[in-house]
């Protein structure tokens, strides 16, 4: 039996993400400002997971709010140097961000969980009970 090649799985994930870059599944909510941070949205069974990359953020600087089916991620990203440093290259960005998006499904705001590990913020959005699809049996 051939073992799955880990690099093959990664390139499949990368191709899948490429395909969904043109999707218009997510609408920006009217109160949202700016496109930062870039988000990926995944489906896990009936529930949804939003994953975004926010390296170097302090948890105290991160503000996540959920209302009905709108999610808002806001905060500040800071890049600090010691005073006597001379900067040779600057590619990291710093500043404020505030983004709100509307998910086209109803989520259960009380059970939303947020995790921040290694610079990745993951928001687990369980679907509202009333919104779960029901199987139709053929009579």
């Amino acid at each position: 039996m051939l073992l799955p090649d880990p690099l093959e799985t990664l390139s499949r994930l990368q191709r899948a993400l490429d395909t969904f870059q043109q999707s218009d599944w997510l609408e920006s909510s009217p109160s949202g400002t700016g496109p930062y941070p870039p988000l990926n949205v995944f489906r896990k069974g009936d529930d949804f997971v939003i994953i975004t990359e926010l390296p170097g953020i302090k948890k105290s600087e991160l503000d996540i709010q959920v209302k009905d089916n709108a999610i808002r991620v806001a905060g500040a990203k800071s890049v600090d140097y010691t005073e006597k440093a001379s900067l040779h290259r600057r590619e990291r960005s710093a500043g404020r961000f505030d983004r709100a998006v509307t998910i086209p499904v109803r989520i259960d705001a009380d059970r939303v969980k947020a995790e921040y590990h290694d610079g990745i913020l993951a928001l687990y959005l369980p679907r509202a009970e009333q919104d779960k699809p029901r199987s139709i049996r053929i009579g």
Binding site: D5, L7, E8, T9, L10, S11, L13, Q14, L17, D18, T19, F20, Q21, S23, W25, T33, G34, P35, Y36, P37, P38, L39, N40, V41, F42, R43, K44, G45, F48, V49, E53, L54, P55, G56, I57, A76, K77, S78, V79, D80, Y81, T82, K84, A85, S86, L87, H88, R89, E91, R92, S93, A94, G95, R96, F97, D98, Y116, D118, G119, I120
Partner: protein, 132 residues
Amino acid sequence: MVQSQELSVQQKKELAPKEEKTVPARYYVPNTDIYETDEALTLVMEVPGVEKKDVNVQLESDVLRVEGRIDFSKYEGLEPVYAEYNVGHYARAFTLSDTIDQDGISAELADGVLTLTLKKAKAALPRRIAIR
């Protein structure tokens, strides 16, 4: 120091590999800040999604190679429905000048930010010349 301007999205830069890989998985170039103090040269690289065990920092013939692999098993069972960025391993290489003490390199990883401190060789440290 937090600037008051709003952040804009930087597209991830894909690494153009010098050697071809046999499997088409993409590597990305991590955003790096390089700054220098009197004692050391510091590289700060953004590698979100990389854990300590998956960082590889190697120094060979004056070339510092940094590689950070992401653990994409976390994406198992997740079906993408909307994507604005892609994920992949990170790799970048820098050629060091001989002002760096090659035995004095230390690395720290916190919240997806890898900080490499390269101590300067003693010969390169600034010396005050006393005027008699």
